[in-house]
Amino acid sequence: MLGFAQLFASRLVKAAAILIAIVVMNFFLVHAAPGDPAMVMAGEAGAADEKFVTQLREQFGLDRPLYEQLGTYVGKVVRGDLGFSYRQQRPVWDILAERLPATLVLTLTAFLLALAAGVALGTLAAVAVGTWADSAITVVALLAYATPIYWIGLMLSLLFSIQLGWLPAFGYETIGAGYTGLAHVADVAVHLILPVITLALFYMAGYARLTRASMLEVRGLDFVKTAKAKGLTQSRIVTRHVLRNAILPVITVAGIQAGQLVGGSILIETVFAWPGIGRLAFEAVLQRDYQVLLGIFLVTSIMVILFNILTDILYGLVDPRIQVSQ
């Protein structure tokens, strides 16, 4: 287990280095905007006279040398101060903290569902390769993969909320209902169903195809022959020997996608009016709300790093060879 602790420690150190690089890049992005931040802020505040700008420059230390400004900025970020949105007249951190849970609930649920269903379907298809079950799974996966995600979302909500009236068409919770406790959880869960299924379908298709291909490849390897020669049952061969090895590439791909999911749910959040980070980013782009955009950039970067570390740890747990080669 020493090797494992080492692996984890080295990942954390690398993550910290990457994070610092992102913060510094963030800083220079602000400076790359036309004019200087003071001009931008003055523009956003709607008052652009020379005196106000100079005052802003002094207030934010923009007349100081660049490295000193960088130091100040990094210090602020470390304390959780991501700046102030003049559009919304609120600190950026508050806005993000309000939107983040909604996105995390949506994407993580969708991700876990996609992974579980994708691996299960892929395994089923690989075990029954060449039969009608395999063909059916392959066709469904191909359709889900090829159809635009927003179209599926619209069709699902058309069917289940407008035609059948079973599920709410949009939103995070029933507005004005004022549920608390378990009732609130149930309310959010009902609202979750459609966006989660829509988002999960697309990723599930990918995992199903990947699992199927990987299983078929592993099935032909020598150690599977050894397992058969031991007289093991088919189900034990599939779960203990084939699937465990076949899952490795799926973990790699899923790890990369998990990080992207946080920022990549813009379409779904827009279609279902989900108050998450994705929609916030979309709105911020339209309104040129730089401070909010940079905040989102930082938060999603942290998410990507976090998921990468999680993937590495998972990989280290599943594949004992990793700890040595790293």
Binding site: F223, K225, A229, K230, H241, R244, R321, V324
Partner: protein, 568 residues
């Protein structure tokens, strides 16, 4: 000889008891479109308790298929049993329901495979992999299973068995993994052990250890054993009875002493005649003139692993390597895997750059040259690679493959292609070969193409890195003869890298034995084979399978007379 004969006679009682395994008229069908309709054609043989039956044949002879049919491992539905029966203790295995077949597999009949590196699940501790067999076939509770696993690992001669049971396969060497495979096969005390080329992928000293282990375990437990191999040396070491297969048919079947010493069938005789025998070394080479190549204290260190915060591990692949090659001389570089022999070969061709030392070619230090300066010497030193399947570009025509080198050095394309045809004829391929693609050729023919490609550059030195180890014995003999013929005709110098001492004995004037990155002994083939000075050389020579077997005299003569017969 008489003692040898006595030892190999199957027990007299064998005829009276029911055979463990009775194969009757077994036929295995290949899918339509394969090169022949039946992989195994009307095969009949028996295996008795306490007997080692060696099934011998070249690749594609159907010997592994037979074993796979017994274990239910045929790749269904493409390959299936077309007829005949496989009786285990009088009961037809093929007619049993799947559940009953499964209880035989790993229980009564166990199997050891060829490739120990890939035959174990990389993600499962070896102890658990052995335990799985016990879990399936016995009622032992988990703690008893664990104890039994440790006991088994101890029996196959692994050190620290308790600790080793907790290790993952990647921590074990090839020989250790094969021992684990054997322990796994022995777990449920099987009546029959099938070993499919269990030592082919191993180094010669490891091979000897594994053969000794298999033989002693077989004798101790009185198992019936079906040992599949292509190597008559191995057959001579362990077989009680021998079955020779060719193109799916049984061509010869009898007691080991009969088949080895008085082979009847022409194919058996041909196979035995192509077995390289280490005693027949060459006469000393008369070194003339200045050396063509001098390697002087070459050292190469590889850095493995390492990262941002971790120091990489140093692996010394070659240290203090010095040798000379004279024009027309063939120097053999012999050693086990990881001994650094390929490192030296690749350094001479310029594929890797040593850390220190000198490589002088006709007096010029190749290591001191830059890329541009080295270019002319690329012509002079050419390489023949090990794997004829991977070393030819599958999308290029054979003629282009051979002509590419000269064209790159400014030769006119038409002239180069004409020359390529001549060279292909020289290596024994017909004229149409130039217009075809590599996949249309057999392994031996591809290696001929590889040799023609090297010769197209008109080299002075040929570096051949295990050029025959991927080939069948009879093909191996032909390629070695070709290399020897070309060497004599063109007065080529050759560095011949091999792990097989028997092959080295056949083609080399001078032998350098390598171990762990160092040359431990160097001398003429005669000296090294008759009076080895180093203990390691002696252990290598001692490990050659089938030393005590004397190839029948009439077959030894066949060999020298065969010449360049046919290209395959």
């Amino acid at each position: 000889m008489s003692q040898f004969d006595l030892m190999r006679t199957p027990p007299e009682t064998a005829a009276m008891i029911t055979p463990l395994l009775d194969v009757r008229g077994l036929s295995i069908a290949l899918p339509p479109g394969a090169d022949r309709p039946l992989a195994v054609d009307n095969l009949t043989f028996t295996l008795n308790p306490d007997e080692i039956l060696c099934v011998v044949g070249e690749s594609g002879s159907g010997k592994s298929m037979t074993a796979h049919a017994m274990m239910g491992l045929l790749p269904a539905p493409h390959v299936r049993v077309a007829g005949g029966s496989l009786l285990f203790k009088g009961k037809d295995v093929l007619a049993m329901p799947e559940a009953e077949q499964r209880s035989l597999r790993g229980g009564r009949i166990a199997m050891v495979f060829q490739e120990p590196m890939t035959a174990l699940n990389p993600l499962m501790r070896v102890g658990r992999q052995i335990g799985e067999s016990l879990r399936e076939h016995t009622a032992l509770p988990a703690p008893a299973r664990r104890a039994r696993v440790v006991e088994l690992l101890d029996q196959v001669g692994l050190p620290n068995p308790a600790e080793l049971a907790e290790a993952y396969p990647f921590r074990l060497s090839g020989g250790q993994r094969q021992r684990v495979m054997i322990a796994m096969a022995l777990a449920c005390q099987p009546d029959i052990l099938i070993a499919d080329e269990p030592t082919t992928a191993l180094d010669v000293t490891t091979q000897k250890q594994i053969l000794d282990l298999i033989r002693s375990i077989q004798a101790e437990r009185h198992m019936g054993m079906m040992f599949i191999t292509h190597d008559f040396g191995v057959v001579a070491e362990i077989a009680h009875r021998v079955a020779v297969m060719r193109h799916g048919k049984l061509v010869e079947y009898g007691a080991a002493s009969d088949v080895l010493n008085r082979p009847q069938h022409a194919y058996t005789r041909q196979l035995i005649a192509s077995v390289p025998h280490y005693i027949e070394h060459r006469d000393d080479h008369a070194k003339a003139g200045a050396p063509l190549l001098v390697a002087d204290k070459v050292r190469k260190v590889f850095h493995v692993g390492g990262g941002l915060f971790k120091k990489s591990k140093e692996v010394v692949a070659g240290d203090d390597l010095s040798l000379t090659i004279h024009p027309g001389e063939t120097v053999g570089l012999v050693g086990e895997s990881g001994s650094g022999k390929s490192t030296l070969g690749r350094s001479i061709v310029g594929l890797i750059k040593p850390d220190s030392g000198r490589i002088l070619f006709e007096g010029t230090d190749l290591l001191a040259l830059d890329r541009k300066g080295f270019r002319p010497y690329r012509r002079a030193v050419q390489m023949v690679f090990q794997d004829p399947y991977a070393s030819l570009n599958p999308r290029h025509r054979v003629g282009d493959i051979v002509a590419q080198g000269p064209v790159a050095f400014g030769e006119d394309r038409t002239r180069a292609l004409t020359r390529a045809r001549e060279l292909l004829a020289l290596v024994g391929l017909d004229g149409s070969a130039a217009d075809r693609f590599p996949h249309e050729f057999s392994g031996g023919q591809r290696q001929r193409i590889g040799i023609a490609r090297a010769l197209a550059m008109e080299p002075k030195l040929l570096v051949a890195d295990e050029p025959v180890s991927a080939l069948d014995v009879s093909v191996q003999g032909q390629v070695l003869e070709l290399l020897d013929d070309i060497r004599r005709r063109l007065n080529l110098a050759m560095l011949f890298i091999t792990h097989d001492l028997r092959v080295a004995a056949q083609v080399c004037d001078t032998i350098a034995v390598m171990r762990r990155g160092r040359i431990v002994e160097m001398g003429t083939a005669r000296e090294v084979f008759t009076h080895p000075r180093d203990a390691y050389t002696r252990s290598l020579l001692d490990a050659i399978p089938g030393k005590s077997w004397h190839i029948p005299d009439d077959l030894q003569k066949v060999k020298t007379g065969s010449g360049l017969a046919g290209a395959h």
